[in-house]
């Protein structure tokens, strides 16, 4: 209890604080070294006690959000695949051979706002990692046939994912909730566009030319390294990378004016209910997103009254969860429940809304708020026990704002969240006109009002 009191005291102390963050106030207990090269490429280094091991990440701020043209949904992800198709210096077989010699865990992944390429391995092989990555980022060179062939692997990935009804429902939800913004489609893209991918070779060259540029990218190295060495290698291998000039203009989503519904008929899995409200974009200076993180943590944790009622006592719901998405543009705040019986769909929705209304009207207990802030901080602190996790976490914030210090700023903002903020964001975002309801059940219709 004494420890908890100490935390509350510390939290209160931080609330009083204003101005720039001191090292002691930062959630990441290690300094973030940053150096921007003259071509605009930012280089981030964090020294971490992992003898002999380093994580090397490149975050390119291009994702399915940037797929603004008709017929090319899923392209950022497809392009991630193409990045493994080789260069003149390192054709794909040679690339594989060298990568294998590094003995690293290497891969890539794409999401709404970014594409990440990563390698974690022997820190003494860092220069080889730089060499391999700079070569493909500057000199990628694939044949049209390789391009067409790779499209099949993307279709294979879609095929694998499609086996999950939850994935199908997510695809429907995004398509229903958004009209103009590119979050309308998932990162995988629409199947019609995936089938057409082999015909988009020319567009792929344009895509590379637009986005695989220093001003869109950040290098992050974490582990048994020094900033001096990392910066010198970055200069040596990426210093000549030419800046581009493309500015991506993503359509703004018009305000939603009434609730929307989408239903998937599938009796093979438990009935599912998902409520999706239009939320804000990520910000490390506005209180809205931190307040929503706190609010949803409170509402859906196993300690909430709602969880205890629906999951523990009545046992009408198997799982209950949700949260706001950290994305560059306004996205959805998601609430999902897996039900025991489809007849309870309306009841569960009503109970969730009642719990939301309760926060709008009465807020939450001050002590619960302090405990939730503690939970958020300790969760993060316990998770950062290896170089890859730290690099990945830094990339999340680089994606959102371009600056890894956003991580420290966000966690400092958590300290500022008040009960009034929770009431404010609940009233502002949990409105029926911004809601999209997605259901899955054996019935032909969702049956939820």
């Amino acid at each position: 209890m004494k420890t908890l009191m100490n935390i509350v005291t510390v939290l209160l102390a931080v609330v009083m604080w204003s101005g720039s963050l001191s090292a002691a106030d930062k959630i990441l207990p290690y300094p973030i070294h940053q150096k921007t090269l003259t071509n605009g490429l930012n280089v981030v280094t964090v020294q971490f006690d992992s003898p002999g091991l380093a994580a090397f990440y490149i975050d390119v701020r291009v994702g399915s959000r940037n797929e603004v043209e008709e017929g090319v949904t899923g392209f950022a992800h497809f392009f991630e695949h193409m990045m493994f198709r080789g260069t003149d210096k390192y054709p794909r077989s040679k690339y594989n051979e060298v990568l294998k010699s590094v003995g690293a865990g290497a891969n890539a992944n794409t999401s709404l706002d970014r594409t990440i390429y990563h390698m974690t391995g022997d820190a003494t092989k860092l220069e080889t990692m730089f060499d391999l990555e700079s070569d493909r980022f500057m000199n990628l060179n694939y044949t049209e046939h390789d391009f067409k062939t790779e499209a099949g692997a993307v279709k294979g990935e879609y095929t694998k994912n499609f086996a999950s009804p939850y994935q199908q429902s997510y695809e429907n939800t995004m398509n229903t909730a958004f009209d103009k913004h590119t979050y309308k489609h998932t990162t995988m893209g629409f199947i019609k566009d995936i089938i057409d991918m082999p015909n988009q070779y020319k567009y792929s060259l344009e895509f590379f030319n637009r986005y695989y540029r220093p001003e869109y990218s950040t290098i992050v190295v974490v582990g048994d390294v020094t900033p001096e060495n990392v910066n010198a290698l970055a200069e040596k291998y990426f210093g000549m990378w030419k800046r581009g000039n493309y500015v991506s203009i993503v359509p703004v989503e018009p305000k939603q004016d009434s609730a929307r519904y989408t239903h998937l008929q599938n009796g093979g899995i438990p009935p599912a209910l998902s409520l999706n409200y239009k939320g804000p974009a990520f910000s490390d200076s506005q209180i809205d997103m931190p307040a929503l993180d706190v609010m949803t943590t409170i509402l859906f944790s196993p300690t909430s009254a709602l969880y205890k009622k629906l999951v523990i006592e009545e046992q009408k719901v198997r799982n209950l969860g949700g949260g706001a998405s950290d994305t560059r543009d306004p996205n959805l705040i998601n609430i999902q429940a897996s039900l025991v019986n489809k007849a309870d769909m309306q009841y569960v929705k009503d109970e969730i809304l009642k719990a939301v209304e309760e926060i709008k009207t009465n807020g939450v207990d001050e002590q619960l708020l302090a405990k939730t802030k503690s939970l958020l901080k300790y969760s993060y602190a316990m998770g950062i026990d290896n170089p890859s996790t730290i690099a990945n976490s830094l990339c999340s914030y680089i994606t959102l704002t371009g600056d890894p210090e956003s991580l420290n700023r966000l966690y400092a903002l958590y300290d500022n969240v008040t009960v009034a903020d929770l009431k404010m964001v609940t009233a502002k975002y949990f409105v029926s006109s911004g809601l999209t309801v997605a259901t899955i059940s054996a019935d032909a219709e969702g049956g939820v009002k």
Binding site: T149, S374, N386
Partner: protein, 510 residues
């Protein structure tokens, strides 16, 4: 106090506690792993899923002092966490907490393990979820995982290794709260426990932990011998037909006589990495099926159980096994129905890519058995593994888990010992091991596919019908002659298929 000390001494003299320690003074947390040599193979016949139910009820229930909700309320601000994992031969409880809260968290750890409440309402909730998993989730959420679990059902049929650890529809229905209480008292005992601890803990804390765990049930559990994989007669295929599948998910398995205990495992590890390292593009299977022919998302091979392969990039610890098999994982390939809709030039095909991809994967193994690895490939793969295996233990929890698994296999530190074995390995060792342990004539295969594909695929496999690769024109036009020539050979490659069965999805795991 005097009595307390005396109790510890007596307890310590009655049996030797198995402890794996990993003290890390720069860590900010403590991880405790309690591994019981008791997995699903100890489930009584007709009560399959009992060990999972017991473990889940311990971690999702209360203690003598606190209800489940009270525990959750208490640990909420600490971000402390705990869970259980049941496999065939072991059940592991993992607890993780920040050092600031270790002393407050520990009574809960102790309560859950020593005096679980086994409350009726917790039991109802836990069993509903387990029932749902065996009835619906396994069949409907990932065809890949479905084909893998079905393969074990086929390969170990009639043995205590057959059932999913979650059990079967009928057996889960029959599990009672009394069954769980009895199972806990007889199977989660001080005699079959290994204690693991990592992070920044004191000697006094460990001493207390050991003393408390010495008061676990005192029964000496009888653990049945693990069931062995069956050797099929020829290639035995089970096709699982379901509605609405977008592709064919394939998994194969054939008995393998060695495990990590054997020094030959290092040799086989090199061969396996070369053939199909998990989630890596270097493997032969990946190169041939995905990279050259774009048939699917990936193709890999395994010389031991890999838990949740769709989720993990690196092999997680905590699933050690004595019964082993060699497996191929072909991720979903296209079915005829989809290909016909997508490409008019494929309007006449009857079967999708499943038959061809299976032929190609099996042929790659066959070629490796016949020709062995080259010196260059051997050296490159060995170098890769010696570095790559260090990533398995990049965080304290996994490092502790691997050390504990090492003990299961009679080793002290598997990662270090394998590195030593790898360093001494020769090409000849590897090629001998391939010939000795791998085979392609006898294997089980499971294919989860769409109902529209099942009959024609079964016919094609049974009759060993040629299965030319059906490319779209746009891909075919650019393929080099060498690839098309190889396709011709693969399309008629003889698979030793002796039996093909079609099973409706609703009839699986019975």
């Amino acid at each position: 106090m005097k009595t307390f000390i005396l109790t510890i001494i007596i307890a310590a003299t009655m049996f030797a506690q198995d402890v794996v320690e990993l003290k890390q003074l720069n860590s900010n947390k403590v991880v405790i792993k309690l591994a019981f040599r008791n997995g699903s193979i100890s489930d009584p016949k007709g009560k399959e899923g009992l060990t999972t139910a017991a473990a889940n009820l311990i971690t999702q229930g209360g203690t003598k002092e606190m209800t489940y909700s009270e525990i959750q309320d208490k640990i909420y601000p600490w971000a402390a966490g705990y869970n259980s994992q049941v496999d065939k031969e072991e059940t592991i409880f993992t607890f993780a907490v920040h050092i600031d809260f270790l002393d407050q968290f520990y009574p809960i750890v102790k309560g859950l393990m020593l005096t679980p409440s086994f409350a009726e309402n917790d039991f109802q909730r836990v069993m509903k979820n387990q029932q749902n998993y065996v009835d619906q989730v396994i069949r409907a959420s990932s065809d890949e995982e479905y084909s893998k679990k079905s393969l074990e059902d086929l390969l170990f049929r009639g043995t205590n290794y057959q059932s999913m650890v979650q059990g079967k529809s009928e057996s889960v229905k029959g599990i009672t709260l009394d069954d769980i209480k009895k199972h806990y008292a007889t199977m989660f005992t001080k005699h079959n426990l290994t204690i693991g601890i990592a992070g920044k803990y004191s000697d006094a804390f460990l001493k207390q932990l050991k003393a408390d765990l010495a008061t676990l049930p005192g029964a000496k559990p009888t653990i049945a011998a693990p069931g062995k994989a069956k050797m099929p007669n020829g290639i035995d295929v089970e096709i699982i037909a379901k509605d609405g599948a977008f592709g064919s998910a394939i998994f194969t398995g054939t008995p393998l006589t060695i495990t990590r205990s054997s020094n030959d495992f290092a040799a086989l590890m090199v061969a396996n990495s070369y053939l199909g390292e998990h989630r890596k593009s270097y493997g032969q299977l990946y190169q041939k099926l995905r990279e050259t022919r774009s048939m699917n998302y990936g193709d890999y091979s395994y010389i031991e159980w890999y838990n949740n392969g769709g989720g993990y990039m690196l092999p997680p610890p905590g699933v050690p096994r004595n019964s082993n098999y060699f497996a191929l994982w072909i991720r979903p390939v296209q079915i005829a129905k989809q290909l016909k809709q997508q490409y008019k030039e494929l309007a006449d095909i009857k079967v999708g890519h499943a038959h061809f991809s299976l032929r190609m994967a099996v042929r790659e193994v066959d070629l490796l058995i016949k020709n062995g690895m080259s010196k260059e490939d051997f050296e490159a793969t060995r170098t890769f593994l010696r570095s790559y295996m260090k990533l398995y233990v990049a965080n304290p929890s996994d490092q502790l888990g691997y050390l504990m698994d090492s003990k299961f296999y009679g080793r002290k530190d598997y990662i270090k010992e394998m590195d030593k074995l790898l360093s001494k390995l020769t090409l000849s060792d590897v090629n001998k091991a391939i010939k000795k342990y791998w085979r392609t004539d006898n294997m089980f295969v499971t294919i989860v596919t769409d109902r529209s594909e099942a009959e024609e695929l079964a016919k094609s496999l049974k009759e060993n019908t040629p299965s030319p690769m059906s490319y779209s024109n746009i891909v075919k036009a650019g393929l080099p002659k060498s690839v098309l020539d190889e396709d011709d050979i693969v399309s008629t490659f003889k698979l030793n298929v002796k039996n093909v069965t079609i099973v409706d999805s609703k009839d699986t795991f019975k």
